[in-house]
C-alpha cells in the first residue's frame, strides 16, 4: 500500500509544538501566544495541502499511513481520511488558531500551560478524526479529555471544579463501556478472521455478522459513549455546566469540535459496524433527537445567561445532526456533516461574541444589557450575522444543513414517517424565537445601564481578525455549499451502501 506521511505531519505538528512550549519561561507570555498561534497555523496550512490533494470522487480512505505500533496486539498506527473526516479535520485546524488568537487578552494566568493544553487538545481531536484503527481512536478519544479537563478546571469560572469533574466522569463512563465493546468486538473478530485485529477496515467486514442480540448490546455501548459526547437528550446535563464554566476558548472548542467527535463516531462506527441494530434502533434514536431539538430550544428560550442560552442551543442543533445521521439517506447524512461544520462555525462565533462582551463588562446576564447597538454598532452587526446563521436563514450556512436534514428525513425509508420532520422543523422556528429575542434584548432599545457606555468598546483589530474568517465561511457555505457537499458525497454513499447491503431484508 502506498504510504503518505502528510497526516502524520499534521498530527505531530501540534504534539511537537506542545512539547516545545513547555520549555518556555513562565514570563514569556507573548512569546508563548505567538508560538501557539504559529504552530496551529502551520497545522492549518498542512490540512489545506491535504484538502487540495484530496480526490473527492474516491470513496476510499486516502493519505493512508500504517505502521505497526503494538505488535503483541496487532495494533497499528493507521491513519487516513475520507471526505467526512477531512471536513472535520479542516474545521479543527481552522478553529484552533482563531480560538488561540481570541484568548490573547482573556487568558493572563499561566499562558504557557494554556497554550500547551490547547495544542495537545488539537492533536487529540485530529487523532480522533484520522484514526483508522479502533484502538488508536480510543486512545485519542480518552487522551483528549485531559487537556480539556485542565482548560475548564484552571481557567474556568466559579463552579469550574464541579463542571470539570462532571465533564470528565460523564465522558469516561461512556467511553469505558465502549472499551469493553471494542475488546469484545476485536476478540470476536479474531475468531472470524483468524487474527487479532483492530483495523477498522477489517472490522467493517466483521461487525455486521455479529449475532443479532449481541449486536444490539454492542451498538448500545458505542452509542452510549457517543451520545454522551454529542450530547443526545437525556445525557446532556454535563454540557451546560461545562460550557458555562469553561473559558471562551474552551467553549468554542467544546462546541465547535469536541461535540462533533460524538456525531462523527456515530457515522464512522455505529452505522457501518452495526448496521442491523442501527436500522432497528433508528426510530428510537430519532425520537430522542427530536426531543433534544425541541427541548434544547425551549430551555434556551428561558435562559437569562447568554452563554447558557448558546449552550442549550447546541443541544437543539446537535439533535438535527443526529436525526440526519439516523435518517440514513444521502441527503440527510450529507446535511448532518454540513450541519456539524455549520454548528462549529456559528456556535463558535456566538461563544466568541459572548466572550468579547464578557471580557469588557464581566457580565453575561441578558438583563444587564440593552441598546448596545448605539455603543458598539460593528459588534451588533456581527452578532446579527452569527445569530441568523445559527437560526438557519437562507443564504447563510445553517439553512443548508437543516434543509438537507429535513428533506432527507422526510423521505427516509428507515424512519418511514414524516412526523419526525414535522416536529424537527418546529425547532427551526424556536431557534428564531430564542436567538432573535436574545438579540433584541441585548442590542435594541434604550441603553439600560450607564456603565455600559464607559465599559463597552467596539471590536478591535484582533477580534475582527478572529471573526472575519468565520463569517466568510458562514456566507460561503450558505451561498455555494457545493464546495463542501462535493467532498462528502462519495464517502457518505459508501457508508450508506455498507448499511444498505446488510439491511436489505430488514427494510422490506
Amino acid at each position: 500500500m502506498e504510504q503518505n506521511l502528510l497526516l502524520t505531519y499534521l498530527l505531530f505538528t501540534p504534539v511537537i509544538g506542545s512539547v516545545l512550549v513547555l520549555f518556555f519561561r513562565n514570563e514569556q507570555k507573548q512569546l508563548a501566544r505567538w508560538f501557539g498561534l504559529i504552530v496551529s497555523l502551520i497545522a492549518f496550512v498542512i490540512s489545506l495541502v491535504i484538502y487540495f490533494r484530496f480526490n473527492p470522487t474516491n470513496p476510499q480512505f486516502q493519505f493512508i499511513y500504517q505502521v505497526t505500533w503494538i505488535k503483541s496486539l496487532n495494533i497499528s498506527y493507521h491513519v487516513g481520511v475520507d471526505g467526512i473526516s477531512l471536513l472535520l479535520v479542516l474545521l479543527t485546524t481552522f478553529l484552533t488558531p482563531l480560538t488561540l488568537l481570541s484568548t490573547w487578552k482573556a487568558i493572563e494566568k499561566n499562558v504557557k500551560m494554556f497554550t500547551f493544553s490547547m495544542l495537545f487538545l488539537e492533536a487529540g481531536m485530529l487523532g480522533v478524526f484520522i484514526s483508522l484503527d479502533i484502538f488508536l481512536f480510543y486512545i485519542f478519544w480518552e487522551a483528549m479529555l485531559i487537556p480539556m479537563y485542565f482548560i475548564i478546571g484552571i481557567w474556568g469560572g466559579e463552579r469550574r471544579i464541579y463542571a470539570s469533574l462532571k465533564f470528565f466522569i460523564y465522558t469516561m463512563f461512556g467511553s469505558l463501556l465502549m472499551l469493553v465493546a471494542i475488546i469484545w468486538l476485536t476478540v470476536y473478530a479474531s475468531g472470524m478472521l483468524g487474527k487479532f485485529t483492530t483495523s477498522l477496515v477489517d472490522l467493517y467486514k466483521v461487525g455486521p455478522t455479529i449475532p443479532h442480540q449481541i449486536q444490539g448490546w454492542m451498538f448500545g455501548a458505542f452509542f452510549l459513549s457517543f451520545a454522551i459526547k454529542v450530547p443526545i437528550f437525556p445525557l446532556h446535563t454535563w454540557l451546560p455546566d461545562a460550557h458555562v464554566e469553561a473559558p471562551t476558548a474552551g467553549s468554542v472548542i467544546l462546541a465547535g469540535v469536541l461535540l462533533k467527535m460524538g456525531t462523527y463516531g456515530l457515522i464512522r462506527f455505529c452505522l457501518p459496524l452495526f448496521p442491523q441494530s442501527a436500522v432497528q434502533y433508528a426510530p428510537l434514536v430519532s425520537v430522542l433527537a427530536v426531543i433534544g431539538i425541541i427541548y434544547g430550544a425551549l430551555v434556551s428560550m428561558v435562559q437569562t445567561d447568554m452563554k447558557k442560552l448558546v449552550a442549550y442551543s447546541s443541544v437543539s442543533h446537535l439533535g438535527f445532526v443526529v436525526l440526519g445521521i439516523f435518517a440514513m439517506t444521502v441527503e440527510s447524512v450529507q446535511g448532518a456533516v454540513i450541519q456539524m461544520i455549520n454548528h462549529g462555525l456559528s456556535t463558535g462565533a456566538l461563544f466568541l461574541l459572548v466572550g468579547i462582551l464578557y471580557e469588557r463588562t464581566h457580565r453575561r446576564d441578558i438583563a444587564f444589557y440593552g441598546g448596545i447597538a448605539k455603543i458598539v454598532p460593528l459588534y451588533a452587526t456581527i452578532l446579527m450575522i452569527a445569530s441568523l446563521s445559527s437560526i438557519g436563514l437562507p443564504g447563510l450556512n445553517g439553512f443548508i444543513g437543516e434543509f438537507l436534514i429535513l428533506l432527507g428525513s422526510f423521505k427516509s425509508s428507515v424512519l418511514n414517517s414524516w412526523w419526525f420532520t414535522i416536529f424537527a422543523a418546529t425547532g427551526v422556528i424556536f431557534a428564531a424565537v430564542y436567538l432573535l429575542w436574545m438579540y433584541q434584548r441585548i442590542v435594541f432599545g434604550e441603553v439600560k445601564n450607564e456603565e455600559l457606555k464607559h465599559e463597552l468598546t467596539d471590536m478591535n483589530l484582533r477580534e475582527m481578525i478572529v471573526m472575519v474568517p468565520i463569517l466568510f465561511f458562514i456566507v460561503w457555505i450558505g451561498v455555494y455549499p457545493n464546495t463542501f457537499l462535493k467532498l462528502t458525497e462519495a464517502s457518505t454513499q459508501s457508508i450508506l451502501q455498507q448499511v444498505g447491503t446488510y439491511t436489505v431484508n430488514l427494510l422490506k
Binding site: 503483541s72 479529555l145 469516561m172 469493553v180 475488546i183
Partner: protein, 476 residues
C-alpha cells in the same frame, strides 16, 4: 537439566542478594559511614540482580530436584522486585533522615525481603513458597514499624503482624491438607496428577484454604481489613514497597500454583472464587477510596481495587491473562512507588501533610512534583496512553476471551468510580489555592526516583511492546 555443579551459577540472582545481605551486615557493624554507604550498596546489589535476571531470562531451568525455577517468569518478577526496591531505597535516603530514624537494618531488611520475594517467585515446591513468604513477611512486619517512635507505625506493625500471622496460619494449614492428601509438596506432581487429586474433597479444601491465605497477602476483599491501617501507619516509602513488590510476589505464587491447575483444564473450580473476590475488591476499593482524605489511606483502598483488577486475570486463567497480570504488576509497581515517593517528599516529620489539603496548590509550590503526581494519578486511573491503561486493557481482553464479559464490565464501572478520587488529587493540586503555607524541601534523590518511575510509566504506556514482548517470550 544442567549438571549439578552448574546449578549454583544459575541461582546467581539469589546469590547476589544473599551476599549483599551478608556484606551489608558487615558494613553496618564495622563502618562508621554506613549511613552513606549502605543505601548505595543496596541499590547496586538490586541493580546487579535486576540486570543479571533480565540478561539470563532465556536460561530457564528448574533446579535442585524441582525446588526452584530460574530464568523465565521468575526472572521478570526478579526484575520487578529489584528495580522497585532500588527506587524505594533511593527515595528512602532523605526520607529516613527527615524522620531521624536511620537504622542500618532498614536497608538490610529491604534486601532480605527482596530475597524472600525472589524465593517465592521461583519456588516450585510449596514449602519453598512458604519459606520465601515468611522471609518477606517478617521483614515487612519490622519495616512497617521502622518509625518506631510513632504511635501509628507501631500500631501498623502490630496489626500487620497479627493479621499476617493469621493468614500464614491459613497457608500452612492448606499446605498440610494438600500434603496429607497427596503425600508430596511438589507443584510439578500437583499439576501432573491434578485430575486424580481433584476428586478428593480434602485436597480441594486445602487448595481453597491456601488460596484464601494468599488472598490476604494480595489484599482482596473480604480479606483486606489490615490494608488501610497498615498502609497509613507504615513509613511511606515502605508502604510503596509493600503495596507493589509484596503484592507482585504473592501474585507470582498464585500464578505458579494456578498454572498447575489451569494446565489440566479444570480451573473452573477456582474461577468463581477469583471472579467473586475480584469483583468485590474492585467495587469496594473504588467506592471506599472516594471518602478518604488521607492520601496514603486512599492509595491503600486503591491498591485493593487494583488487586481486584489483577485478580480478573486469575479468574480468566488463560495464557494471555498471565501476561496481562505481569504487565499490570510492573506498571502498578512504578505508578505506586512514584506516588508514594511524592507523598514521602511532601509529608513532614510529624506524620502530617499527607491529606488532600496539604496538596492544595502544589502546582505553584513545585510544578515538577505536581506534574509527576498528576501523571501517576492519570496512570492509576487508567487513562491512555499511560502504563496503567495497558495493564487494565490486557486483563480485560483476557476476561472477554474467557467469556467473563460481566467481570470486565464491573471492572470498567469501578474504573469510572476510581477516576473520581484520582482526579480529585489533580483538582486540589492544580485548581485550588494552597491552604497551608509551608515550604517543601525536595530531596534530589527522591525526585530522581520519582522521575525514573515516571519514565517507566510513560515508556510502558507509549510503547507497551518493550515490556510485553519480554513477557510473552517467557510465557510461550
Amino acid at each position: 537439566m544442567p549438571q549439578n555443579n552448574y546449578e549454583y551459577f544459575l541461582l546467581m540472582p539469589q546469590i547476589i542478594i544473599g551476599i549483599g545481605i551478608v556484606l551489608s551486615v558487615i558494613i553496618e557493624i564495622t563502618s562508621k559511614k554506613s549511613e552513606q554507604i549502605l543505601p548505595w550498596f543496596s541499590i547496586a546489589m538490586f541493580l546487579a540482580t535486576a540486570v543479571y535476571s533480565i540478561l539470563d531470562i532465556n536460561r530457564n531451568f528448574v533446579l535442585f530436584g524441582g525446588m526452584i525455577e530460574v530464568g523465565g517468569k521468575p526472572a521478570i518478577f526478579n526484575f520487578i522486585f529489584n528495580i522497585g526496591a532500588a527506587l524505594v531505597v533511593l527515595s528512602s535516603i532523605d526520607y529516613l533522615k527527615k524522620y531521624g530514624t536511620y537504622y542500618g537494618e532498614y536497608y538490610i531488611l529491604v534486601q532480605s525481603s527482596v530475597l524472600g520475594m525472589m524465593v517465592m517467585s521461583g519456588a516450585r515446591d510449596i514449602l519453598m513458597i512458604f519459606m520465601g513468604l515468611e522471609l518477606m513477611s517478617i521483614c515487612f512486619y519490622v519495616l512497617a514499624g521502622i518509625n518506631r517512635k510513632k504511635f501509628s507505625a507501631n500500631e501498623a506493625s502490630m496489626k500487620y503482624f497479627l493479621l499476617g500471622a493469621f493468614a500464614t496460619g491459613f497457608i500452612v494449614y492448606g499446605i498440610a491438607l494438600i500434603y496429607g492428601t497427596t503425600g508430596s509438596t511438589s507443584i510439578q506432581n500437583l499439576s501432573e496428577n491434578f485430575s486424580v487429586y481433584s476428586t478428593n474433597i480434602v485436597f480441594i479444601l486445602g487448595l481453597i484454604i491456601f488460596l484464601i491465605g494468599f488472598s490476604f497477602k494480595i489484599a482482596t476483599v473480604p480479606f483486606h481489613m489490615w490494608v488501610p491501617d497498615v498502609y497509613q501507619g507504615s513509613a511511606t516509602t515502605v508502604t510503596g514497597l509493600m503495596s507493589t513488590t509484596g503484592k507482585a510476589a504473592a501474585f507470582s505464587v498464585l500464578i505458579v500454583v494456578l498454572t498447575a491447575v489451569f494446565g489440566s483444564n479444570t480451573h473452573n473450580i477456582v474461577r468463581p472464587y477469583f471472579a467473586t473476590i475480584s469483583a468485590l475488591s474492585m467495587v469496594f476499593g473504588s467506592i471506599v477510596a472516594i471518602s478518604q482524605n488521607n492520601l496514603k489511606r486512599m492509595l491503600a483502598y486503591s491498591s485493593i481495587a487494583h488487586a481486584g483488577y489483577m485478580a480478573i486475570g486469575l479468574a480468566a486463567g488463560n495464557a494471555y491473562s498471565i501476561a496481562g497480570i505481569i504487565f499490570y504488576l510492573t506498571a502498578y509497581a512504578f505508578m505506586n512507588i512514584g506516588a508514594f515517593a511524592i507523598i514521602s517528599i511532601v509529608e513532614d516529620e510529624n506524620d502530617s501533610r499527607v491529606d488532600l489539603n496539604s496538596f492544595a496548590g502544589l502546582h505553584s509550590k513545585s510544578p515538577i512534583l505536581a506534574a509527576m503526581m498528576a501523571l501517576f494519578m492519570f496512570a492509576l486511573a487508567g487513562i491512555p496512553p499511560l502504563a496503567g491503561f495497558f495493564g487494565k486493557y490486557y486483563v480485560f481482553v483476557s476476561a472477554i476471551q474467557s467469556n467473563l464479559t460481566w467481570l470486565a464490565i464491573v471492572g470498567v464501572l469501578s474504573s469510572v468510580i476510581s477516576v473520581y478520587f484520582y482526579i480529585r488529587v489533580v483538582v486540589v493540586m492544580y485548581f485550588k489555592d494552597s491552604v497551608e503555607d509551608f515550604k517543601i524541601t525536595i530531596s534530589s534523590f527522591s525526585l530522581a526516583a520519582v522521575v525514573i518511575a515516571a519514565l517507566f510509566v510513560l515508556v510502558f504506556g507509549i510503547v507497551p511492546d518493550t515490556l510485553m514482548n519480554v513477557i510473552t517470550s517467557v510465557i510461550r
